[in-house]
C-alpha cells in the first residue's frame, strides 16, 4: 500500500510510468494520451502538495530510494525550499498540460503520443532534479530534462526550430559537461556524491583549489543551463520557435529549477559562508546579475516579435533571482525564492497569452496583436494582470518579490542592483504598454471617436475568445498572481523563511 511516506517517490514514479503508458496508449487510440497526461500530473501535483504539507508540519523529509541508505543509495530530500519548487513545478506543468490540448492538436496533429511522452518525461526530469539529494543523480536527471527539451523544441516550426534546438543541444551539453566535471572534482576530493554527506565532509577542504574550482565549474554549468547573461545565447530562439505547448512548459520551469539548483548548491552542498566568499565578497556576481537585468531588458526592448520579447525578459528575470541569492542577506534570498514562484507563474501567464495569440492569429509578431482587446477581452485582461506583475504593480505577485529584492539590495548596499531592478520595472512598463497600445488602439486608420466610430470600427471586430481549455488555465494563473501577491506575507512566514539558511 502506498502511504504518505511514499509520496516523494510517487511524485517521480507516476509521471515516469505514465510516459510509457502514454506512448503505449497512443498505439491504441491517441485520444487516451491527453487524459492520461492530466491524470498523471494531477497525481503528482497532489503528492507534491501533500509532501509540502508534511514538510510544513514535521520539517524536512528524507526518502531512501529502494531502501538503500545514503550515501550509497539515492536519497530524496524535501525541505521548505524544494517542497515549494516541487509544488510550483507540478502546478505549472499541470496547467500547461491542460492548456496544451488544442495547440498540440493544431500544431502537431500526427505526433500527439510522442509529444506527450516527451512532455511528461521532461516534467519527470525537472521534478527529479528538484527532489534529489544526490549530486550525480541530479546530473542524470538534468540530462533527461535537457534531452527531452531538445526534442520538444525541435518539434516546432520546421524552418527554424531544428536549428534553434541544435544550438541548444551544443550549448546545453557544454553546460551539463561543466556540471559533471564539477561533480567529478567533488567525488575525487570526498569520495561521496550525497549532498548532505558532502556538506559535512567539505568544510575541511574549503581552502583547497580543487574544491574552489569545483564550485566555480558547477556554477558555470548551471549558469549556462539557466541562461544567465552572457551565457543566454541559446534561449531566445529555442523558446521562440518551440511549439506553443513546449514553450508553456519549459519557459516557466527550466530556468527557475536551475536557479533552485544553484541555491541548493550554495546552501546545502557548500555552505553559505563558503559560497559568498569564493569570489571575495559576493559582489561580482551581483554585478553580473545587474548586467543580466539591464541587457535582458534592453534586448527585449529591441524586439518586434511578442514571443521573442518574452524570452529576453526571462533572461532579465534570471538576473533578478541570481542577484537576490547573491545579496547574501535574508531579504535578498527571500526575494529570490519568492521570485522563483512568481516568475514561474508570470512567465506561464505570458506564454499562455502568446500561445492563444498564435492559436487565434496564426503568428506572434506585434502586428498580430492588433485589436485583441476587442476580440478577446478576457484573455487580454488576464494578460494585463501578468504584465502588471512583470512591471511590479501592487497587489500583483511581482511587486512583492521585487519589494524583498529591493530591501535586500539596500541592506547590502548594492545600489547598482537596486537601480537595475527599477530600470527593469520601467522598461517592462514601456514594453508591456507598447503591447497593450497595439492591442488597444490598432487597427489604426479607422475613424474612432465621436460619431462614426460606433458603426465603423468597433462592431467589425466581434468578440472571439480562445477555447475554454486555453482560457481557463490562463485566467486561473492570473488570479493566482493576484492571490499570491495579497497573501505573499503568509507564503513567506509559513514556508520561505524556513528556506533561508540559518544565520541570515
Amino acid at each position: 500500500m502506498i502511504g504518505p511516506e511514499q509520496y516523494p517517490a510517487v511524485m517521480i514514479v507516476v509521471p515516469l510510468l505514465a510516459a510509457f503508458a502514454i506512448n503505449l496508449a497512443g498505439l491504441i487510440d491517441r485520444r487516451f494520451c491527453y487524459p492520461l497526461l492530466l491524470l498523471a500530473l494531477g497525481v503528482a501535483a497532489a503528492a507534491a502538495l501533500a509532501v509540502l504539507g508534511q514538510v510544513m508540519r514535521d520539517g524536512p523529509i528524507s526518502y531512501r530510494l529502494g531502501g538503500w541508505p545514503p550515501p550509497m543509495g539515492i536519497e530524496y530530500v524535501v525541505d521548505h525550499l524544494n517542497g515549494l519548487v516541487l509544488v510550483v513545478t507540478c502546478v505549472v506543468a499541470f496547467l500547461a498540460a491542460v492548456y496544451s490540448k488544442r495547440s498540440v492538436e493544431r500544431e502537431l496533429p500526427d505526433k500527439i503520443p510522442y509529444f506527450y511522452t516527451l512532455f511528461i518525461l521532461a516534467v519527470t526530469g525537472l521534478l527529479g532534479m528538484t527532489i534529489t539529494g544526490d549530486a550525480f543523480n541530479l546530473y542524470v536527471l538534468m540530462e533527461i530534462t535537457a534531452l527531452t527539451n531538445y526534442a520538444l523544441i525541435a518539434a516546432g516550426r520546421a524552418d527554424r526550430a531544428p536549428m534553434a534546438s541544435f544550438t541548444y543541444i551544443i550549448i546545453g551539453t557544454i553546460g551539463a559537461s561543466f556540471y559533471l566535471l564539477g561533480v567529478g572534482h567533488l567525488y575525487i576530493m570526498t569520495g561521496s556524491l550525497n549532498m548532505a554527506d558532502l556538506r559535512t565532509i567539505l568544510p575541511e577542504l574549503y581552502t583547497t583549489h580543487a574544491v574552489i574550482a569545483s564550485f566555480i565549474i558547477l556554477l558555470l554549468g548551471l549558469w549556462i543551463k539557466m541562461a544567465f547573461f552572457p551565457l543566454h545565447g541559446w534561449l531566445p530562439n529555442a523558446y521562440t520557435h518551440a511549439p506553443t505547448a513546449t514553450g508553456c512548459l519549459i519557459a516557466p520551469l527550466v530556468t527557475k529549477v536551475s536557479v533552485y539548483i544553484m541555491a541548493r548548491l550554495m546552501f546545502s552542498v557548500y555552505s553559505p559562508e563558503f559560497s559568498y566568499r569564493v569570489f571575495g565578497p559576493a559582489e561580482p556576481v551581483v554585478w553580473m546579475a545587474v548586467a543580466a537585468i539591464v541587457a535582458g531588458s534592453l534586448m527585449a526592448l529591441a524586439q518586434k516579435d511578442f514571443k521573442k520579447m518574452l524570452t529576453y525578459l526571462i533572461v532579465a528575470e534570471v538576473g533578478y533571482m541570481v542577484g537576490g541569492l547573491w545579496l547574501a542577506n535574508r531579504y535578498g534570498i527571500t526575494g529570490a525564492v519568492l521570485h522563483i514562484v512568481n516568475d514561474a507563474l508570470m512567465t506561464l501567464c505570458l506564454f499562455f497569452t502568446a500561445g492563444i495569440v498564435v492559436y487565434k492569429m496564426k503568428g506572434h509578431a506585434f502586428t498580430d496583436l492588433r485589436g485583441l482587446f476587442r476580440k478577446m477581452p478576457l484573455t487580454m485582461a488576464a494578460f494585463t494582470v501578468g504584465a502588471l506583475s512583470m512591471i511590479g504593480v501592487p497587489p500583483t505577485a511581482g511587486f512583492f518579490s521585487k519589494w524583498y529584492l529591493l530591501l535586500g539590495a539596500i541592506e547590502a548596499g548594492q545600489w547598482g542592483f537596486m537601480a537595475a531592478l527599477l530600470f527593469s520595472s520601467l522598461i517592462n512598463a514601456v514594453l508591456f504598454f507598447k503591447v497593450i497600445e497595439i492591442a488597444y488602439f490598432e487597427p489604426c486608420g479607422v475613424q474612432h471617436g465621436h460619431d462614426g466610430g460606433q458603426a465603423a470600427a468597433h462592431d467589425v471586430i466581434a468578440v472571439d475568445e480562445a477555447p475554454f481549455s486555453m482560457l481557463a488555465p490562463l485566467v486561473l494563473v492570473s488570479a493566482a498572481l493576484l492571490a499570491i501577491g495579497i497573501y505573499s506575507g503568509s507564503l513567506v512566514t509559513n514556508i520561505i523563511q524556513y528556506a533561508v539558511p540559518a544565520g541570515f
Binding site: S425, H448, G449, H458
Partner: protein, 490 residues
C-alpha cells in the same frame, strides 16, 4: 480619542469595484447600466457619511485587510484628512455620473460601458487613497488609479489619445516606479514601518539630513499626479479625454490624490517639525510658488478652453502644496480645505466646457464670444466657478484662500503672500474675459449667436448643482474646516 475597528472603510472602497461586473454585463441596457453606477455611488456616499460622526467626534476608524510583512499591511484608517477627501470625491462622483449621461449620450460616444466601468474602478482607487493607513496602501491605490484612468484618458482611441496616454503613463507610472518605490523601500528599511503617524515617524529614525532631503523630494516629485513643475506636462495632454473624465479625474480625483499623498508625506511621514528643522518646507514652498506663477502665466496664453483649465488646475494644485509647505496651522488647514473648494469650483468650469462642446462643438476660447446669449445658465455657472477659483466671495474658494493668506503670515512668509495675490490677479485675468466676452461682446464681434439653446438637461443640472454648492460652501465652510483641523490635530 477613540479608535474603532470597522469594515466600513473597506466596503466604501469596494462598493464601486463590485459594481464593475454588473456595469459590464448590462452594456446593452444603458439605463440599467447607469442605474448600477448611481446605486454604487449612493451606497458609497452613504457609507462614507455614516463614518462622518465618528470622525467629527475626534475618533478614527481602522481596518486591516492583510498583513504582508511586519509593519507592512493593506490597512485603512479614516481620519479627518481622509474623510474630507473621500467626501469631496464621492459626492462629486454622483454629480459627474449624471453629467456623464448627458455628455456621453449627447455626443453618442462609443464604448460607454467601458467608460462607466473604469470610472467605477477609478473611484474605488480614489477612496482607497483617502482611507489608506500607510504609505504602502496609498501606493497600491495610487497605482491602481493610474491604470484605471488610462482607458478613460485614451477613450477616443485615436492617434492623439495614444500619444497622450503614453505621456500620461510615462509621467505618472514612471515617476511612481522610479521615485516613490525606492523612497518607500528605503523608508521601510530604515524605519521599519510605513504607517502614517500624526507628526511623522521619521524624526526618530536616525536618518541623515541629506538622505531625508533626498527622500522628501523623491516623494514630492514621485507623486507626479500633484503636477508640480517640471512633472506637470501630463495634465494638459490628458485633456484629450472626454470632458467628464477631465472634470472628475483631472480636477478632483487623480490630481487631488497627488496632493493628498504629498499632504500625507508632510503630516504623516516626515512631520512638520522635522521638515521645519531641515528647512525642507521652505524648498517645497518655493517649488510650489514657481509652479503657481508659471502655470498661471501659461494659462493666459492658452486658447483651448480645457487646456486653459488644465493649466489653471496645475497652479491651484500648488496652492494646496504651498499650504502644506507653509507648515503653519492656518496654511495647512487652508491647503486641505482648498482640496474641497477647488474641486467644486473647477469641476463646474469643466462641466461648462463640456456643455459648450456638446451644445455647439466649440473648444476654443476665441470662438466663444457671445455664447452667453445662447447658453446663459452655463455661462452663469462658469462665472461662479471662476470666482471660486480666483478666490472671490461669495464662493467657497474665498474661504480657503483666506486661510492660505493667513497661513503665509503665520509662517512669516510674506513673499508667498505676494505670490498668492498675484496668482489671484492672473486667475482673474484668464477667466473673467471669457465671461465678459460671452455676455457683453459687441454684436458685431460675436462668434456665437442666439437663440437660447442649452446643452441637455443631464449636463446643465449637474453644473448648476456644483455652482450652487460652490456658493453654499462660502456660507457653510465649517464641515471642511473642522475635518481639516481634526485631521491635523489642531
Amino acid at each position: 480619542m477613540e479608535t474603532m475597528v470597522s469594515i466600513k472603510p473597506l466596503l466604501a472602497v469596494l462598493v464601486s469595484l463590485a459594481a464593475v461586473a454588473p456595469i459590464a454585463f448590462s452594456g446593452s441596457r444603458p439605463n440599467r447600466r447607469e442605474g448600477w453606477t448611481f446605486g454604487a455611488g449612493i451606497i458609497k456616499l452613504a457609507l462614507i457619511l455614516s463614518m462622518l460622526p465618528t470622525v467629527l467626534a475626534g475618533g478614527e476608524i481602522r481596518y486591516t485587510v492583510a498583513e504582508l510583512l511586519p509593519g507592512l499591511a493593506i490597512a485603512f484608517r479614516v481620519d479627518g484628512l481622509g474623510m474630507l477627501f473621500a467626501l469631496v470625491a464621492s459626492s462629486l462622483w454622483l454629480v459627474t455620473s449624471a453629467y456623464s449621461i448627458g455628455y456621453m449620450r449627447g455626443l453618442k460616444e462609443h464604448s460607454q460601458t467601458r467608460y462607466f466601468a473604469f470610472f467605477a474602478v477609478a473611484l474605488s482607487a480614489t477612496i482607497g487613497v483617502a482611507f489608506a493607513a500607510n504609505l504602502f496602501t496609498l501606493y497600491l491605490f495610487y497605482e491602481m488609479l493610474s491604470l484605471a484612468t488610462y482607458p478613460l484618458v485614451t477613450h477616443h482611441q485615436d492617434h492623439e489619445a495614444r500619444l497622450a496616454g503614453r505621456r500620461y503613463l510615462a509621467y505618472i507610472l514612471g515617476t511612481s516606479i522610479a521615485f516613490v518605490l525606492p523612497a518607500m523601500v528605503i523608508v521601510y528599511q530604515q524605519a521599519g514601518s510605513l504607517d502614517f503617524v500624526r507628526g511623522g515617524f521619521l524624526a526618530g529614525a536616525g536618518l541623515s539630513p541629506a538622505l531625508l532631503g533626498l527622500l522628501f523630494f523623491l516623494f514630492v516629485f514621485g507623486f507626479a499626479k500633484a503636477a508640480i513643475m517640471p512633472f506637470h506636462a501630463w495634465l494638459p495632454a490628458a485633456m484629450v479625454a472626454p470632458t467628464p473624465v477631465s472634470a472628475l479625474l483631472h480636477a478632483v480625483a487623480v490630481v487631488k490624490v497627488g496632493v493628498f499623498a504629498i499632504f500625507r508625506i508632510v503630516t504623516g511621514v516626515f512631520g512638520p517639525d522635522l521638515l521645519r528643522e531641515l528647512g525642507l518646507g521652505q524648498w517645497l514652498a518655493i517649488l510650489a510658488a514657481i509652479t503657481i506663477l508659471v502655470a498661471s502665466l501659461i494659462a493666459l496664453s492658452q486658447d483651448g478652453l480645457k487646456r486653459r483649465l488644465a493649466f489653471s488646475t496645475i497652479g491651484q494644485l500648488s496652492y494646496i502644496i504651498l499650504g502644506a509647505a507653509l507648515l503653519s496651522p492656518k496654511g495647512m488647514t487652508g491647503g486641505l480645505v482648498h482640496i474641497g473648494m477647488h474641486a467644486y469650483g473647477k469641476i463646474t468650469l469643466f462641466f461648462c466646457a463640456g456643455a459648450i462642446f456638446v451644445a455647439t462643438g466649440l473648444k476654443n476660447i476665441s470662438d466663444l464670444d457671445g455664447i452667453g446669449k445662447r447658453m446663459p445658465v452655463t455661462m452663469a455657472a462658469f462665472f461662479v466657478g471662476s470666482l471660486s477659483v480666483i478666490g472671490l466671495p461669495p464662493t467657497g474658494g474665498f474661504f480657503s484662500k483666506w486661510y492660505l493668506l493667513q497661513g503665509t503670515l503665520q509662517a512669516e512668509q510674506q513673499v508667498m503672500l505676494f505670490v498668492l495675490l498675484s496668482s489671484s490677479l492672473l486667475n482673474a485675468a484668464y477667466f473673467l474675459p471669457i465671461v465678459y466676452r460671452a455676455f457683453f461682446c459687441p454684436p458685431a464681434e460675436c462668434r456665437v449667436h442666439g437663440p437660447l439653446r442649452e446643452a441637455p438637461l443631464w449636463c446643465v443640472v449637474p453644473l448648476v448643482v456644483t455652482a450652487l454648492c460652490s456658493i453654499g460652501l462660502f456660507f457653510y465652510p465649517d464641515l471642511f474646516r473642522r475635518l481639516a483641523e481634526i485631521g491635523l490635530g489642531l
